[in-house]
């Protein structure tokens, strides 16, 4: 296993607090190993900054294995950096080369205000789920899990949509900052299951209303969301959501 060391020039968005003005700042980071993940490279830069007495760059991250959905960086104009099915925490530096210039920015959307540097507030997603992204069942009294067979095909379609990690890359990538892929994925997960059926039309109505209230844009079928989704969720779910919402108008 070889280990090439790189020197990179970074342009990183810095903003001191929610209400402060922000700007891109330039940094040079040295001794970057090709085996580092992108976030480890950011750690490395932060160590350098702190050793110089500067404040580190704030960025969201947690599991660092591509499932928690916390990391959120637009790298060279593409959320998570543009490798199919990969979050920023799993993007490795071997995809870059010595001397590269890299732009790192936060998710940009009115519904995702910047809290500091690369950290944004994504509670809008929680509120959309709270509006209807669940099956209204209380704990206890559930029938036997095998009482209701579900065809493998439907279960798989449901699972395809349920894979969403709620990172918000779809919003960040969309020219309109639309949240349709996220919202529709949650609806599709539940609407493909018999357990989700009774609330199906109410669910899409409420989630769509909340989505609008949060200030996300409209869907223009650019399909950018699908291209950057780390879980490769298909825009099929958006068509399903639209159909259900249309049907809901007649109910």
């Amino acid at each position: 296993m070889s280990d090439k060391k790189m020197k990179l020039k970074l342009h990183v968005y810095r903003q001191a607090s929610k209400d402060a003005a922000g700007a891109m700042k330039e940094y040079v980071v040295e001794d970057v190993s090709e085996h580092m993940s992108f976030l480890e490279m950011m750690d490395h830069l932060n160590e350098q900054l702190m050793n110089k007495g500067e404040e580190p760059i704030a960025f969201d991250h947690d599991c660092r294995e591509g499932i928690c959905g916390m990391c959120s960086m637009v790298i060279n104009g593409i959320p998570h950096g543009g490798h199919r099915g990969v979050t920023a925490c799993q993007l490795h530096m071997r995809h870059f080369k010595d001397g590269d210039e890299i732009f790192v920015e936060p998710w940009r959307a009115r519904a995702f205000p910047v809290l500091r540097d690369l950290v944004v507030d994504r509670q809008a997603f929680d509120r959309i789920v709270a509006a209807g992204g669940y099956v209204s069942i209380n704990t206890g009294g559930a029938p036997d899990a095998n009482a209701l067979p579900i065809s493998k095909k439907e279960a798989d379609l449901s699972m395809d949509a349920a894979a969403c990690i709620g990172c918000g890359a779809c919003v960040a990538a969309c020219k309109n900052a639309s949240a349709m892929l996220f919202v529709a994925a949650k609806a599709s997960h539940l609407n493909h299951l018999p357990q989700g059926e009774p609330e199906r039309y109410e669910r899409v109505k409420k989630m769509a209303a909340q989505m609008d209230a949060e200030g996300f844009g409209t869907c223009s079928n650019y399909s950018s969301c699908e291209a950057v989704c780390p879980k490769e969720i298909s825009v099929r779910v958006i068509a399903e959501f639209n159909r259900d919402l249309l049907k809901a108008q007649a109910k």
Partner: protein
């Protein structure tokens, strides 16, 4: 320290149902007068929060992540066990309980374990009803697989994302209650203090991680569902934010910390690639169903794996444990990997790795089938390492994964501190000295959905504590304490970053209190850790202020707590002069296998904090096995 476990009388099969009947209830009209504070929104916290608010209690929930959905339960890949016996292969509540007690090397409380097995089936029902998309057979029924050393197929799964799907189920139930106005959710809030008034846990102090604001919250009871402390080792499979602060703060207020030395090292992780590494990535244990583990027979063999002929390979798990082979339990597989690497037969950089080879499985069932089974895991491995596991064997090495130790709780999941309930990985109760695969998800949800909602009602019905608000002087004092600690950290203005200290602490622990532990090494740690801690408080560099989003300050507070806690962990490891499960004292082995000492150590060790500069005191809860007689845990 009062360590009455309050295990109900009677045969093990009837303990829980009898106990439930005997528990006092809270009148429905009175429920809304009680406020429950829950910290943590993983499987245990989210499920408890949803369920308790459905019952009618006022619930306030806190998590440090930006959304409750991001708690680290989400990363569990493999599955969740349940004694459904859908496969008709002889599973039962008793067998699941027995496997779990034995898997825990007879260091867990059998009544708790039996209850866990008993409610396991309800969990699956509940999750399916919530819309958790478990894997299904073509006939439409739920699929199962065998997992983590079990002889029956009792593991339910959702692709490689079981934890995520279960957590989304609980998270959605929680959001449903938020929407109903029954739960108040506070994300990006970190608990910094537990508030105890008249001997009862009555609230917490949190820091708003965005604004830095310190706030006190008063309630009738506090539930900690804050997960494990694996990150004390710096490198682990835990999320970067996972920490011991909540439970350690509670321990410093009088809650006993049980069995801190029981840490689980997971055998199948991607080996460390360099010093900059920030975490280790787990590869699901399910890979061992088809992968064969081997190293070269010759030490220092630097040939590429494909160039090493069959007869020069040592499939050491199959050789040593013929009946379990590559599926031997976690602690055993991990130790075996360490052994061969210690012998100089490890592979990859630094010689810390073993092969997990799929060549035979691909030959047997075809690349297509292997890809269907493990495609996402293979992709993940390729993304991280740049190697293609279809053609080159994976390299794996054990890594810290789970901590069986935690705050001591009785049968009602309440700590020795009245009013403080502890659920999920944060408590100690169900896994003994080693946890079996697919059992953590089961325990988190069992505690949150089906155990705590009953037992907490009993506490609230009988505690009869006066109402109080956060204006009480104890709350004010706790806020001041939290502020003083932060100010102290910010004022050190030293030369080393928090991470550099944390990394060093991790290396110390991993080398001397990791997979193999000796009296000598542990005693050295008891000198080295305080020395490093002293340097930390003298030389740490925490930039920025306390009144803003300051990730360096967050880390500093957590690492400061890890430093104190690490010493107790090591003390416990030294005190437990036997080998059991994940705790392997090299002095106590029999041909490389852990050798228990039931005579002296069939007990839970519970540590009581005595204050700065004072030695913590060890108390014991003896373990009594009436239903599952301890035997030598053999997987040969």
């Amino acid at each position: 320290m009062n360590l009455d476990a309050k295990i109900p009388e009677g045969p093990i099969e009837q303990k829980w149902s009898k106990h439930k009947l005997a528990l006092p209830l809270v009148n429905p009209a009175n429920k809304r007068k009680h406020k429950v504070i829950i910290v943590g929104t993983g499987l245990a916290g989210a499920s408890a929060a949803a369920t308790l608010s459905e019952l009618g209690y006022q619930v306030e929930v806190f998590c440090f992540q930006d959304s409750p959905r991001r708690a680290h339960s989400i990363a569990a890949q493999g599955g969740i066990n349940a004694a459904k016996n859908y496969q008709n292969d002889g599973d039962s509540v008793r067998r699941l309980a027995y496997d779990t007690v034995k898997g825990g090397d007879y260091r867990s409380r059998e009544a708790n374990v039996y209850r866990l097995a008993e409610v396991s089936a309800n969990i699956i029902d509940q999750c399916v009803a919530q819309g958790v998309p478990f894997a299904r057979e073509y006939g439409g029924h739920l699929a199962n697989r065998s997992f983590g050393g079990a002889q029956v197929s009792r593991t339910f799964y959702a692709r490689g994302q079981t934890g995520q799907q279960l957590l989304l189920g609980a998270y959605q139930a929680l959001e449903k209650q938020v929407n109903a106005g029954a739960v108040k959710m506070h994300s990006r809030h970190e608990m910094l203090e537990l508030v105890v008034v008249d001997g009862h846990a009555r609230g917490i102090v949190t820091r708003d991680l965005v604004t830095g604001k310190l706030e006190a919250w008063a309630g009738d009871t506090v539930v900690l569902a804050t997960g494990g402390y694996g990150n004390v080792f710096y490198l682990s499979t835990n999320a970067k934010g996972s920490n011991v602060t909540a439970t350690w703060r509670a321990a410093k207020k009088g809650a006993g910390f049980a069995n801190p030395c029981y840490t689980q090292i997971h055998p199948t992780c991607i080996p460390q690639a360099g010093d900059y590494q920030s975490k280790l990535t787990l590869m699901s244990e399910s890979l061992r169903n088809d992968g064969r583990v081997w190293v070269p027979k010759k030490a220092g063999d630097a040939r590429k794996p494909a160039q090493i002929p069959e007869e020069e390979r040592d499939y050491y798990l199959e050789r040593k444990y013929p009946s379990f082979g590559n599926l031997a339990p976690r602690d055993i597989s991990s130790r075996a990997a360490k052994q061969v690497c210690d012998e100089g037969r490890g592979v990859g950089p630094g010689g810390r790795g073993v092969y997990l080879d799929f060549a035979d499985a691909i030959k047997r069932v075809g690349k297509q089938v292997i890809s269907e089974r493990y495609g996402n895991l293979f992709d993940m491995y390729a993304t991280i390492t740049g190697d293609d596991p279809y053609t080159v064997p994976m390299r794996i090495y054990p890594a810290v994964h789970y901590t069986m130790g935690g705050l001591w709780v009785d049968y009602n999941l309440m700590s020795n501190l009245p009013g403080l309930h502890v659920i999920g990985e944060a408590n100690f109760s169900d896994h003994g000295a080693n946890r079996l695969g697919a059992s953590a998800l089961m325990q988190g949800l069992a505690d949150g959905y089906f155990v705590l909602p009953y037992t907490i009602s009993a506490y609230l019905a009988t505690a009869k504590q006066p109402k109080l608000t956060s204006d009480h002087p104890e709350f004010k004092k706790a806020v001041d304490d939290a502020r003083a600690r932060m100010t102290k950290l910010l004022n050190v203005k030293g030369k080393r970053t928090v991470d550099s200290f944390h990394r060093e602490l991790g290396v110390l622990l991993w080398n001397k209190c990791g997979m193999g532990r000796t009296e000598k090494g542990l005693k050295e740690l008891l000198i080295e850790i305080p020395r490093l801690r002293e340097e930390f408080w003298r030389n740490v560099n925490v930039p920025g202020s306390a009144e803003s989003l300051n990730q360096a300050l967050e880390k500093a507070g957590r690492v400061a707590d890890f430093f104190e806690f690490a010493e107790v962990l090591v003390l416990d490891a030294l005190d437990r002069d036997e080998s059991c499960g994940g705790h392997f004292r090299e002095e106590h082995e029999d041909q490389g296998e852990a050798k228990r000492d039931d005579e002296k150590f069939q007990h839970v060790s519970v540590w009581e904090w005595k204050g700065e500069g004072q030695a913590p005191v060890r108390h014991k809860e003896p373990l009594v096995f009436e239903s599952f007689k301890p035997s030598i845990r053999s997987y040969k």
